[in-house]
C-alpha cells in the first residue's frame, strides 16, 4: 500500500553514499597504515623506545615509508621494534642504515627515522636488524645551544673592547710612548688569544650541535632538518671559525709587532712610530672584528628565529623569566 510515495532511488543513493564514505575512509586509513600494500619487515633494537607504540610512522630520510608493527621485549635492556616497510624501499634501504626514534614535531607522535649511512653497503633484506642510534634529548640540546650563544656574546664583547683599545690610536700612541708599552701590548695580545681560544671552543661545540642537527638526531633534529635554519646555523659557525683563523693570524702579526717594538725600543729606532702611523694593521684588525661581529649577528638572528618558532617559545619564555628574577634579586641586593 503505497502511502507517502517513497523514493527508492533517493533511499538507494543515500545508503550507497554512506557506505561509500565509510569504505573510502577505511581504505585511506588502511593505506596509511600499510594494511593493503605489500610490505616487508625490518627490525631495530633499542634500550629505550621512549613511548613508541605499534602503528607509529617510520620514515626514511624524511619520507613516509611504513609503520611500526609490533614492539617486542627481548630482554631487560633490549627492546626490538618490528617495522613494516613498503616494498618500494626494498631497493633503497641498506644494511648499514641507522635507525633512531624521534618525535613528529615537538609534541607530536613518536616516529622512527631511518637515515642512510655515508658508506655503501648491501641492500637490507626482509627481517634484517638495522643499526640503531640513541637519540639526544631535546632539552639538553637546547641547553647547549643557549650556552653557546652566551659564550659567543662574551667573546664578541671582549674582542670589541680590544679592538676599541687598539683603534683609539691616540691613546695607543701615548701608550706606545710610555715605558710600559710592551707590557700592555702583551696583555692585549693575551686577551686576544684567550678570546680566540674561547671562540675555538665555542666553534667546536657549535659544530657538534650542527652535526647532530644535520643528522636529524632527536626531535630538534627532525624539526630543523629540512629548514634553512640548519644551513644558517652552519654558515654562522663557519664565519665564526674563519674569524677565529683570522684572529690567529692577527695574533701572529701582533706578536711580530710586539717583537718589533721590543727591538725598536732596545735599538732605539724610530720604526715604532712609522709602524703605528701605518694604519693597515688597525684596519685589518677592524675587519676581523667586523667579521666576528657579523657571524655572531647571524647566529643571534638564528637564535632569534628559533625563539620565535612556536615550538621553542616555552623554553625561551622560561629562560627570560629566570633572567628577570635574577635581575630583580640583584637589584634588591644592590639597593
Amino acid at each position: 500500500m503505497p502511502r507517502k510515495k517513497i523514493n527508492t532511488i533517493k533511499l538507494g543513493a543515500f545508503v550507497l553514499t554512506g557506505l561509500l564514505a565509510l569504505v573510502l575512509l577505511l581504505y585511506m586509513i588502511g593505506k596509511n597504515q600499510n594494511l593493503f600494500g605489500s610490505t616487508y619487515v625490518l627490525k631495530a633494537r633499542f634500550e629505550n623506545i621512549q613511548g613508541l607504540v605499534a602503528g607509529n610512522n617510520v620514515r626514511y630520510a624524511g619520507i613516509q615509508t611504513g609503520t611500526v608493527k609490533v614492539i617486542n621485549i627481548v630482554d631487560d635492556t633490549t627492546i626490538e621494534i618490528v617495522m613494516l616497510i613498503e616494498k618500494r624501499m626494498l631497493k633503497i634501504i641498506r644494511k648499514n642504515a641507522v635507525v633512531s626514534i624521534g618525535t613528529d614535531g615537538f609534541v607530536g607522535n613518536k616516529v622512527v627515522n631511518i637515515s642512510p649511512a655515508r658508506q655503501r653497503s648491501d641492500i637490507a633484506q626482509e627481517g634484517d636488524i638495522l643499526l640503531s642510534k640513541k637519540s639526544v634529548a631535546t632539552d639538553d640540546m637546547l641547553q647547549l645551544l643557549s650556552k653557546t650563544n652566551t659564550d659567543i656574546s662574551v667573546i664578541a664583547a671582549e674582542l670589541k673592547t680590544t679592538v676599541q683599545r687598539i683603534n683609539q690610536s691616540d691613546a695607543l700612541w701615548s701608550l706606545l710612548n710610555d715605558k710600559s708599552i710592551p707590557q700592555n701590548i702583551r696583555l692585549a695580545v693575551a686577551n686576544i688569544r684567550s678570546a680566540t681560544d674561547k671562540a675555538n671552543n665555542t666553534v667546536a661545540s657549535f659544530q657538534a650541535v650542527a652535526s647532530d642537527i644535520q643528522q636529524g638526531k632527536g626531535s630538534v633534529g627532525t624539526l630543523l632538518k629540512d629548514t634553512v635554519f640548519a644551513a644558517n646555523l652552519n654558515e654562522a659557525i663557519l664565519k665564526i671559525k674563519s674569524v677565529g683563523g683570522q684572529a690567529d693570524s692577527l695574533l701572529y702579526e701582533i706578536n711580530t709587532m710586539v717583537a718589533g717594538i721590543k727591538e725598536d725600543k732596545d735599538n732605539g729606532n724610530g720604526t715604532l712610530h712609522a709602524l703605528f702611523k701605518d694604519s693597515g694593521i688597525v684596519i685589518k684588525l677592524n675587519a676581523s672584528l667586523d667579521n666576528i661581529q657579523r657571524g655572531t649577528d647571524g647566529f643571534n638572528q638564528n637564535m632569534e628565529a628559533l625563539k620565535h618558532n612556536f615550538l621553542f617559545r616555552g623554553f625561551f619564555k622560561k629562560k627570560a623569566k629566570q633572567q628577570e628574577k635574577e635581575n630583580k634579586l640583584k637589584n634588591t641586593a644592590s639597593q
Binding site: M1, P2, R3, K4
Partner: protein, 259 residues
C-alpha cells in the same frame, strides 16, 4: 432472581458447535485483580444478530476482543466456526479473521493512509490473490455500500465522525465477512447519524446475510438491530432473550437498561 425465561442455563444454550457461528463456554478474563468476565457463556447461530448490552466498563469490548483473539482468555473456550480461537496457530487464526469483520469503537482508521489504502490494507494483508483491477473494484464496491465512493482519495482526518464510522464499516465489509463484530457502532454519533449507521447495518445484514454480534448501550440501536439481546452483568451472561420480552422483565438489573 430473574424470571424463568431469562435465566441462562449455559449448557442448554450451547448446542452443537457447527450450527453456531460463535460459541463461548465458561469464559474467564481478568486484568490483575479486576475480574472482568467470570464464567461467561454465549452462543450465536449463523445469520443471527445478537446484541450484548452492558454498562460502561462491564467488559463488553473485552468480550469481543477475546472472540477475535486480540485478548487471550484466562480460562474457557471460544469457538468461531468450530475452531478454538485461543488454541489454533497464527496462520489459521489469520484465515479465520478474514471471515470475521470487526468494527472498532474508535474506528481505528489508519490515519497515515488514504481511504483507499485503508480499505486495501486487509485485502492485501490476508494473502488473498487479487489483481489491482479487482482490488479497485472491491474498494469501490465497499465504499458504495456505505455511500461514500467520493471519499476514496481523502485522508481520515478530513472526514466527519459519521463518515469515518462508515469508512471503517466499509473496511470491515471489504473481505465479505461471515461474522461482523460491532463495538458500540453508534456511540459518539448524533442520533440522525446513528440512525444512518443502524440502517446501514441492517442493509448489510440483509444483503450479505452475515452473523452479527453488536455491542451497545444505545437502546435505539439495540431495538432495531437485535434478534436477541444478552445482558452482561458482573462478568456473567445475566439475561438472554428477545428485546420485547426483556422489556417486560421485572428484574431490576434488567429493568435499569430499559428506563
Amino acid at each position: 432472581m430473574p424470571e424463568e425465561a431469562t435465566i441462562v442455563q449455559s449448557d442448554q444454550l450451547i448446542s452443537a458447535d457447527t450450527a453456531n457461528a460463535v460459541s463461548i463456554l465458561h469464559l474467564y478474563k481478568s486484568f490483575g485483580n479486576n475480574h472482568v468476565l467470570i464464567d461467561f457463556n454465549l452462543a450465536i447461530k449463523k445469520g443471527e444478530s445478537v446484541v450484548v448490552l452492558g454498562k460502561s466498563g462491564s467488559g463488553k469490548s473485552v468480550l469481543i476482543k477475546c472472540i477475535i483473539g486480540l485478548l487471550k482468555p484466562d480460562k474457557g473456550t471460544i469457538a468461531v466456526f468450530g475452531k478454538n480461537v485461543s488454541e489454533i496457530k497464527e496462520e489459521e487464526l489469520d484465515k479465520l479473521r478474514a471471515k470475521v469483520g470487526f468494527l472498532f469503537q474508535s474506528n481505528a482508521l489508519y490515519d497515515s493512509m488514504t481511504v483507499r489504502e485503508n480499505l486495501e490494507f486487509p485485502l492485501r494483508r490476508h494473502w488473498i490473490k487479487v489483481s489491482q483491477v479487482e482490488v479497485n473494484k472491491m474498494v469501490l464496491e465497499a465504499l458504495d455500500d456505505v455511500g461514500l465512493a467520493h471519499t476514496v482519495d481523502m485522508m481520515p482526518v478530513e472526514l466527519s465522525g459519521g463518515m469515518r464510522k462508515r469508512i471503517a464499516l466499509a473496511r470491515t465489509l471489504i473481505l465479505k465477512p461471515e461474522i461482523i463484530l460491532y463495538d458500540e457502532p453508534t456511540t459518539g454519533l448524533d442520533p440522525i447519524t446513528g440512525k444512518e449507521i443502524i440502517d446501514l447495518m441492517n442493509d448489510i445484514q440483509e444483503k450479505y446475510n452475515t452473523t452479527s454480534l453488536i455491542i451497545s448501550h444505545d437502546m435505539n440501536c439495540v431495538r432495531m438491530t437485535s434478534d436477541r439481546v444478552v445482558i452482561l452483568v458482573e462478568g456473567k451472561c445475566y439475561a438472554n432473550d428477545t428485546w420485547d420480552r426483556l422489556q417486560q422483565n421485572k428484574d431490576p438489573k434488567v429493568k435499569q437498561f430499559f428506563e
